[in-house]
């Protein structure tokens, strides 16, 4: 009898552990900052439920991080030919499927050989830019975090309006609820599908909110492209 009781207790204990490791849906807030990862070379670490989760881009994020570092005086000047080398690296990535992280770990000779193997002609600007970029990254070791609004503004190349910011806050709020109850991913939906999901919610947005959410939704889709 005693053995049976001990066995039951163990089973219950295992049950508790099992429950504690079950998926847990965080409530994601739009006003939380984005942190840049020097290891992954992007603003990662985002929750899968974050509306920006599918918008991050290594090349663009690297550029944003450098511009932010420059603004914060963490570096004295922008690496020479930054856009040009990022473009070249992106094209090499598309040919070779080598990630930006790995590309930036190559020596100049290796980069040159890789480019030659894919018939990409490197210029003097490319080589100077590549080495300047690597030197700049070596200088940076302090973490950089920016607000989601700033991130979107960098991406768009313009400031967001109050209405757009409201829209993003509301979009994140309702998306949290959709994920919690239906498990639908934002990347898989267009706005029609998304608004129908909104209608299924117990707490659905009013028309005014819906308009703002649509604007934010469209910007988000634009960033994903």
């Amino acid at each position: 009898m005693k053995k049976i009781l001990v066995l039951l207790a163990l089973i219950l204990l295992m049950q508790f552990f099992g429950c504690s490791s079950a998926p847990y849906h965080d409530t994601v807030l739009f006003d939380r900052n984005l942190d840049y990862s020097y290891e992954n070379l992007n603003f990662d670490g985002l929750n899968q439920n974050d509306i920006l989760y599918y918008t991050v881009d290594d090349y663009i994020d690297l550029e944003i991080m450098i511009l932010e570092a420059l603004q914060r005086d963490m570096i004295e000047e922008k690496p020479l030919n930054l856009l040009l080398i990022l473009e070249t690296l992106e094209s090499l990535n598309s040919y070779s499927n080598i990630s930006l992280q790995r590309l930036l770990k190559l020596s100049t000779t290796e980069l040159y050989n890789l480019a030659m193997s894919h018939s990409v002609i490197l210029t003097v600007d490319d080589i100077v830019g590549f080495n300047d970029l690597k030197a700049t990254l070596n200088l940076l070791n302090e973490s950089i975090s920016i607000s989601k609004v700033d991130y979107i503004e960098y991406r768009l190349g313009r400031d967001l309006t109050e209405e757009e910011i409201e829209g993003f806050i509301e979009l994140q709020y309702y998306y949290n609820n959709i994920v919690m109850y239906n498990g639908q991913l934002l990347s898989d939906m267009n706005f029609e599908a998304f608004s129908s999901e909104l209608n299924n919610l117990y707490d659905s947005p009013n028309e005014e909110e819906l308009n703002r959410i649509e604007i934010a939704f469209e910007i988000l889709k634009l960033l994903q492209e």
């Binding site: 100049t108 040159y112 003097v124």
Partner: protein, 469 residues
């Protein structure tokens, strides 16, 4: 094992100089090529940095400092992916620029100083120094310096160094030798000098023509030797005086003992006689019944004791009476000799006196005592009842001669001036008369002697005359 300071100094200097020379030569030879390259890099770097502003302002390269910076250096101005201007040797072609940059950036020895990055590589005896100066987007100055390795120069330098080393080693040896001698010689001389001082030899003087610390040391040593010499001389004098005093004390002690013995011996006899006479007179025994007759004899014995005591007193007090600057006239003797002449008369001896007056260096009383003692001696021992006293006057001295007929044995002549020595014990006296003469002569440092001369005994005293001023 004792090693001399010269050997030590010489070898220390030789080894130090040699080590210094070898180390500096080795360092210089090994650093020559490297230094040459470093100096070239420094000049080129300075030229690039100083010309950067002008190049930005579209000044052509050959109008900047770069034109004269280094004859081995090529400067390429590269803008918007094309060569704009090129000066210097044409080592690097346009189509090689990409590879040039790849090698530059992949070099592990890449040095970045602001906008300038450069690296050094050695390949096939040629140093390649590659630079890139970034003015801005798509605007660079590419620089390449090719320097021939200086290995051949190093070999030539090695040959020169061997010849030079022999010469320098010879020079070092000579210099070490000179410095060692310069240090060791004064020390050796000072050592010899110190040894002679330690042996109380103050006759030497140390003379060294130096104007350094040795000069001070030698001065101090000479001063020390001088002070030591003076102190030693004073000590020596004091010792001599002490010895003399001790000797004098011994003599005095001897005198005292002799006096006591003499008193014991000489005075006891007359005292016994007097005692016997008086006892006889008291008891009225034998011939002493006639007191009046024998009281005169007692008086004679008492006078005899008194004379003895007088002589002894003189003997003890002579030095107290004498002074160095005593003076007297010889003519004063005439008066003082009356007593002794009377004594001679009682002895039935004639006295011939021939005194020439003169001033002499002696106390008058002591002179009289001396002459009287000589006279008494002559009177007591003369064999023909005649005693002669005469003086002989010289420029600086006066000889006083007392002469009597007689002869003294050679063995007695040696002892005649000793105290209490008597030739004939039948004669009255203590034997201190001639001893008193001797003492007076020694006080005034006068010559004196008694000798035999043709059956005569001559007593001669030479008195000094005072110096004429």
């Amino acid at each position: 094992m004792k090693i001399s300071i010269f050997i030590k100094t010489f070898f220390i200097l030789l080894l130090s100089f040699s080590f210094l020379f070898i180390a500096s030569t080795y360092y210089f030879n090994n650093r020559f090529s490297q230094k040459y390259v470093e100096e070239n890099i420094r000049i080129v770097k300075e030229a690039i940095i100083n010309s950067a502003e002008e190049i930005k302002n579209n000044t052509t390269l050959n109008q900047t400092l770069l034109d004269n910076a280094s004859s081995e250096t090529q400067f390429i101005l590269y803008q918007n992916n094309q060569v704009v201007e090129m000066i210097g040797p044409q080592t690097l072609r346009e189509d090689q620029i990409i590879l040039f940059l790849i090698e530059l950036y992949d070099s592990k020895a890449l040095i970045t100083e602001g906008n300038l990055s450069y690296t050094i590589a050695l390949s096939e005896d040629i140093y390649s120094v590659s630079y890139i100066y970034k003015f801005g987007q798509s605007d660079y100055l590419l620089v390449l310096t090719k320097i021939q390795s200086l290995r051949n120069i190093d070999k030539v330098m090695e040959d020169i160094t061997i010849t030079q080393a022999l010469f320098i080693f010879f020079t070092i040896t000579i210099i070490s030798l000179l410095i060692s001698l310069n240090i060791a010689n004064p020390i050796k001389r000072i050592n010899r000098y110190a040894k002679s001082i330690s042996q109380l030899d103050f006759s030497k003087e140390l003379v060294l023509k130096r104007k350094d610390e040795f000069s001070d040391l030698i001065s101090s040593l000479n001063e020390m030797a001088f002070n030591l010499k003076n102190t030693y001389a004073k000590l020596n004098d004091a010792n001599k005086r002490l010895l003399k005093d001790i000797e004098f004390e011994k003599q005095q002690e001897k005198k005292k003992k002799a006096l006591i013995m003499t008193i014991n011996h000489e005075i006891r006899t007359p005292l016994s006689v007097i005692k016997g006479m008086i006892e006889g007179m008291i008891d009225g025994i034998g011939r002493y019944k006639h007191k009046d007759n024998y009281l005169k004899e007692v008086l004679v014995q008492i006078n005899s004791i008194e004379d003895m005591i007088k002589d002894l007193t003189y003997s003890l007090k002579l030095e107290d009476k004498a002074k160095k600057d005593d003076l007297c006239q010889l003519s004063a003797l005439n008066q003082n000799l009356l007593g002794v002449i009377e004594y001679a008369r009682q002895k039935k001896v004639r006295v011939s006196v021939d005194i020439e007056d003169s001033q002499v260096n002696i106390n008058e009383e002591l002179l009289s005592i001396m002459i009287i003692n000589l006279m008494k001696n002559a009177i007591n021992y003369t064999e023909n009842s005649l005693v002669v006293l005469q003086t002989k006057n010289y420029h600086d001295k006066v000889e006083i001669i007392v002469k009597n007929k007689g002869f003294i044995k050679e063995s007695d002549l040696d002892k005649i001036f000793e105290p209490y020595y008597r030739l004939d014990f039948s004669e009255e006296g203590l034997g201190v008369g001639l001893f008193i003469v001797k003492q007076i002569c020694e006080i005034y440092n006068c010559d004196y002697k008694i000798y035999n001369d043709n059956s005569y005994v001559i007593a001669k005293v030479v008195l000094k005359k005072p110096l004429l001023t």
